[in-house]
Symmetry: C2
């Protein structure tokens, strides 16, 4: 309920999502159809996800040597999700989609993420099918993408290898043409793949009839050697079970073998696997290697795979935000019901009085308000980014171009900021529970464990920071940063006209100037080693500035709707904004100090000095 | 090895612990005897603790309805620890102790904490026996304390109750005189106890022949009612099995029943229990209630129990520090061996070159140096506090008085700072491991889970902060704070004379002034509700200032020993100091802002606004 009303406000009052319905693609939609989708998702999440969040944590995936065993609830959740149509919510009608705005799809998916982040891993299936849709042949779309969108099959993204985690240029999975006529296969040019893929989410299971692996691999040159770097990488569809051009299983198993399950700190509802391609466990059609069909052109694999990267990163930011809010709601409820001690002040120490509920303690309120400011702020930022995705695809050429550029700059923040600060929110949720929070009888410790993944997958914190400071804020002479500054200044200007917000507008203007100056100082020598030595502190400061802007802009919408703040929830939103400006924004000075001075204390450490 | 040399430097070169040997109590000791103790502890920790740290995490304590089941390694570790004599290391010779300085005892215990924090819980046994030693009768000392120190029995501290976690004035465990002649029992005035105790570490097990519970309970007045508040609390020895005046088991079980084990996020090697006293499961001597023997005077229970509080809190600070360093060592080793990517700069992006080890990446170095600065700094601070404990008990009257006062001010920091920032260190250790760090195949995720407890037990973060800002820095007109400022200024003055340190001395002087000013501003209105509304941000800033001082003072010792910094480890120590001043100390401005302005944003939140 609380999450729904927060989302409704952000979606309709802040982002004016209804206005999208004036665009041809969304012409059939209205607030009613959006609400109906949200209702369904909220209900499925409540009935099929939330009650089993602890179940999937304690009943981790098992591998019996042949098959992966998952608890029954995972099957039920997957079935309900697939039947809801959410796998293709934003797709064209002609491929069975609903042509929903991505903003609404992202918002509706929040309910699942908040209820049980790891029971579903449907984001990967959608992302996989989307990549095929954009880069695949008509046949590949019909056979593979369509059967993923309709829920028959699931999809994976096979990028990392044991020796090449974040460094994709170092993958060694090999793809060789599968004999004479390999190019004439109706499913696409046919190759034989050999190699090992690590960290593959949902890499094996019996949830669906088949699994469509999208695999990055290298096609060797005539000399048998790989082209070094990412340019040598191509993309392949490698189905777990072979299929014909009608999308029917042929009855042949492809040579993709589960080599092992990773046993994780959290996020245990999703299998995470090491897969061996073409090692010979399931020899196929008398040759060596798993059969794979080329998607797009040879050497353009990374480009094809990363087409959906912004959306994937927004999904992670959203996952982190939802875990943050789940912890907030849980600790709020606990604080409202747990009696303990007495607040400071008049008669507070009078032990003959009954104990107070802990929500009456100032420090508990601080920990609650911090969670609210982190979680709702992160949600708002990610919805804003989702809205930019819609703009990029359906806006006027100018608006689309701006949206694309803004997304480039904001995506690293939308992914990394929630993964850091909503993790901190989860820690505060534990703290509010005291000793109980440290037990597995309460949900909050699991949120904290689940959330710890988000700084790691889909590009680590360090990689996001290098992307932000090394590429995004400097590309095209800083065009993206200028565009963002323009949007921020527009909010500042509006806020200046509001007595309740003008002081905050000034603070934000100062923060924006500080971040701008630090960006310049970081690059003052033009030496990337110096500029990027403190990319993570830069990203932390940049992120806090962006979140302060987000909160100020949300506050404008709150006052637009309810100037007197007669509704308690709106007053609370303003309080969260104030919290962010009073308690959080002042932190940017500390982070930027080392950026501005191009501090090399860390970078110059020699190994033997540690 | 690395931990040993760090401890050796801090103990001998920085804290001059050898000088204690000139005092009568430690006259038999020398660096040789200290080193011998450290050798033994290091070996036992390596052989009996470290190999089983994951075992105790996966083989959690089980309760079969009668007995607690623990893995065999726990018995072995307990046996080796007890045989080492460390349970009574700092005690008098006459009670079987070694009369070691507490500083050395604390340092030697580091090895166990770093190897496996939860396999042993010996701190509680020592603390229990110590409290009896100070407040018990001769008979209680001989029967109970002596048999804990010699390893025969274990001890617990039973404070919390399900309805009264941090709020001890609200406990309801009742103690009533056990009939006629109750005062004449040679083991102490005999009472019957009834009540439930929660969060009792090592509350039940078969590791030792007997368990000595120290229980806080209330003796009702003639009207059957309790005196409200903490003044009504008394302390009792309640053995699990009854004993005679010779310390022999009488064969009777006392009415202390294990009601359940808590299933925790981490720290799983130690049982954590809910105990029922006097519920009738084991009726004893025909009466109702568990038999307990009063320790000290009625109504002085909290005073007796809290006698050892400073030491207990230093132990927690040390535990957090050791987990921080364990993660540091693990991630350092990983970073030295894991090839991945190529550093920025000349030819760095040339994918035809072999991958670099990740320790060559600037951001990995940053995460390593942060861990080093957090972990070694926290260790230094806690050893400094341990040294103050020795001063308090064996120094000149003036020195002892000062040490006592300094400990009052520093203990909340020594406990809370490592529990917050060494937890952050553990998160960085996971981050360095990437996806591997998120699996249970590596040690770091367990360190992170184990460390999360330390902000909760022995007084939560919020309670430490209220203690610091509400009591410690203002008591006696701020005498403690002034004394600390004097010590800090002495370090500043020395550092001013060193070219390599003078700039840092200036930074620290500024930080000290800022903290002092914020303390005044917080209390400017004299209203505790306003002053303490931001006690936690105050404690964070105060802690960072104290740690900056600690590092500056350690840096002085490093330069005293090796002015040229010819030894790489010493150079690394100076780098950690620089890291702390460049990256961490600037953060205090952000924290202090709300303290200085007595910001009530959080405190004034109304429940319905969340």
């Amino acid at each position: 309920m609380r999450l729904r009303s927060t989302i409704d406000f952000l979606l309709y009052d802040w982002l004016k999502t209804e206005e999208l319905n004036s665009r041809p693609r969304f012409a059939d939609h209205s607030r009613q159809t959006f609400d109906a989708v949200m209702d369904i998702c909220e209900r499925i999440a409540r009935e099929k996800y939330a009650p089993f969040n602890r179940t999937v944590d304690t009943q981790e995936p098992q591998f019996d040597g042949e098959k992966v065993i998952l608890p029954e609830c995972t099957y039920e959740a997957r079935k309900a999700f697939a039947e809801s149509g959410m796998l293709s919510a934003a797709q064209d009608y002609e491929i069975g989609g609903m042509q929903l705005p991505y903003t609404v799809e992202a918002a509706a998916n929040c309910f699942f993420a908040a209820a049980s982040i790891s029971i579903g891993s449907n984001m990967l299936t959608s992302g996989n099918a989307n990549a095929i849709l954009v880069h695949g042949t008509e046949m590949q779309k019909q056979v593979f993408a369509a059967n993923e969108f309709n829920g028959r099959w699931a999809g994976t993204m096979c990028l990392s290898e044991p020796q090449a985690g974040s460094s994709l240029s170092d993958i060694t999975t090999r793809a060789e043409a599968d004999g004479q006529g390999f190019e004439d296969d109706p499913l696409g040019p046919r190759y034989r793949l050999k190699g090992n893929k690590m960290w593959i989410s949902s890499g094996d299971h019996e949830l669906t009839e088949n699994i469509v692996h999208l695999v990055l691999a290298k096609i060797p040159g005539a000399d048998g050697k790989f082209i070094p770097g990412v340019k040598g990488i191509s993309l392949f569809i490698v189905p777990k079970k072979l299929v014909d051009t009608e999308g029917r299983l042929t009855g042949e198993r492809n040579d993709v073998a589960l080599a092992g399950l990773n046993h994780k700190l959290g996020w245990r509802g999703t299998t995470n696997t090491l897969l061996n391609f073409g090692e010979g466990k399931y020899p196929v059609r008398g040759g060596a290697g798993a059969l794979g069909y080329l998607v797009g052109k040879p050497g353009e694999g990374l480009k094809c795979m990363f087409h959906m990267m912004n959306e994937a990163r927004i999904s992670i930011g959203m996952a982190a935000s939802m875990l943050g809010l789940a912890g907030y709601y849980a600790s709020l409820e606990y604080a409202q019901n747990r009696p303990q001690g007495r607040p400071i002040g008049e008669g507070g120490k009078d032990a003959s009085k009954p104990q107070s509920r802990i929500i009456e303690h100032a420090d508990v309120k601080r920990m609650l308000l911090a969670q609210k400011a982190y979680g709702e702020g992160a949600l708002a930022l990610n919805l804003y980014c989702a809205r930019l995705v819609d703009e990029q695809y359906t806006g006027s050429p100018e608006a689309a171009g701006q949206a694309k550029l803004l997304l480039e700059v904001l995506t690293p923040v939308a992914k990394s900021w929630p993964s850091e600060f909503c993790l901190e929110a989860n820690s505060l949720a534990i703290q509010i529970h005291g000793g109980y929070g440290y037990t597995r009888d309460f949900a909050v410790e699991q949120y904290w464990r689940d959330n710890r993944l988000n700084m790691i997958h889909e590009g680590t914190h360090g990689i996001q920071a290098m992307d932000l400071l090394g590429r995004k804020v400097v590309m095209d002479g800083g065009k993206g940063l200028q565009l963002l500054a323009g949007r921020i200044n527009a909010s500042i200007e509006r806020a200046m006209g509001r007595a309740q917000l003008s002081a905050y507008a000034n603070h934000l203007a100062k923060a924006l100037a500080e971040v701008g100056a630090a960006t310049k100082s970081a690059w003052a020598t033009g030496n990337p080693q110096e500029a990027l030595a403190n990319a993570v502190p830069y990203m932390q400061a940049f992120g806090h500035m962006v979140l302060a802007w987000t909160w100020l802009d949300v506050a404008l919408a709150l006052l637009d709707k309810d100037e007197e703040l007669a509704i308690a929830a709106h007053k609370g939103g303003i309080a969260a904004m104030r919290y962010f400006f009073h308690y959080e924004l002042p932190k940017i000075g500390g982070w930027l100090q080392v950026v501005k001075s191009r501090d090399m204390t860390c970078a110059q450490m020699r190994e033997e000095e540690f």
